[in-house]
């Protein structure tokens, strides 16, 4: 499947993959310039992303296959389970987004499809979603301007996932740590509008685009 090669396009002589936030998420400062930026953002490129949908009545079988292959417990609630370079995010009943870090991206979706064959249907989304990693002390205040989910530490923490609505478009949001660091996945076509919202909403506290870690 696609990302198998795309991730290595530089080597394999394929045309370069255009990342979703290319031309938008470029290192630099936005909004308030003085002082340290209260929010930082970087695009996560080179990820392999797949929708995983359980076959009817195969949730258990699927969970076994996932834990056997990736050594993680398939979430049954809006959470994220990660092991090594692979994470499964619950996105809906019987539905997950499987995300592999660049290092593990090669052949990930194809491999996933065969590993889970019979237990789940797999569809490649590697190019369909853009993922941003956001962090910073004022991040929750900024997110609250678009996302209505309660992100207070008492209500939402590392490992939690929310499929929700932000500034009139669908997003998938998950928290990584207590910094806090969040990642947000957005449909490719809406990347520009989402970026504009993020810039506007963080201008007050200052937004720094950092090169990808």
């Amino acid at each position: 499947m696609s990302e198998a090669l795309s991730q290595h396009s530089p080597l394999s002589g394929l045309p370069p993959v255009r990342s979703v936030f290319a031309g938008l998420c470029v290192p630099g400062r936005h909004g308030r310039a003085e002082g340290p930026a209260s929010v930082t953002v970087a695009e996560r490129t080179g990820l392999a992303i797949a929708s995983v949908l359980a076959r009817r009545g195969c949730e258990a079988q699927l969970a076994d296959a996932v834990s056997a292959r990736f050594g993680l417990a398939l979430p049954t609630a809006p959470t994220r389970a990660a092991a090594g370079d692979v994470a499964f995010l619950w996105t809906g009943p019987g539905q997950w987004l499987a995300i592999a870090e660049p290092a593990a991206a090669a052949g990930f979706v194809a491999g996933l499809a065969s590993t889970l064959d019979g237990a789940a249907s797999v569809a490649d989304q590697s190019h369909g979603r853009g993922v941003l990693r956001l962090a910073g002390p004022r991040l929750r205040d900024v997110l609250a301007k678009g996302i209505a989910v309660d992100l207070h530490p008492r209500a939402f923490g590392p490992g939690h996932v929310a499929a929700t609505f932000c500034a009139h478009l669908d997003v998938l949001l998950w928290q990584l740590d207590d910094v806090p660091t969040f990642e947000i996945a957005v449909a490719r076509g809406f990347a520009g509008s989402f970026w504009h919202w993020l810039e506007a909403s963080s201008a007050m506290v200052g937004l720094a685009v950092t090169p990808e870690a």
Partner: protein, 98 residues
């Protein structure tokens, strides 16, 4: 209005889309106009109780987990009595066991 998705938790109604009465049932067999069986189709597609009280209705958590839900709501006060996963309700309805 706040709706508690059984999967995602409490969300504002802007995340949900509404279809309507969940008590009407799609007949198993097609029917021809004029036959008695056609009346069941009228009941499914067009006629509604629209009761001033408890209303079982279909919503979809469209901008969330995309699950269809059966919400039981008093449509005079908007008070919500329960929110169930529609597929589980449907499986029980069809005797397939949730």
């Amino acid at each position: 209005m706040r709706i508690t998705c059984p999967h995602c938790g409490e969300r504002g109604n802007e995340e949900f889309s509404y279809l309507g009465d969940a008590t009407v049932r799609r007949p198993a067999e097609p029917a021809s106009p004029g036959t008695p069986a056609f009346d069941d189709w009228m009941g499914f597609v067009y006629l509604r109780d629209n009761p001033a009280g408890q209303h079982r209705e279909l919503w979809q958590h469209l901008h969330g987990c995309r699950a269809w839900l059966v919400v039981t709501r008093d449509i005079r006060s908007h008070a919500i009595a329960s929110v169930e996963d529609a597929r589980s309700v449907a499986l029980a309805r069809d005797g397939a066991g949730a």
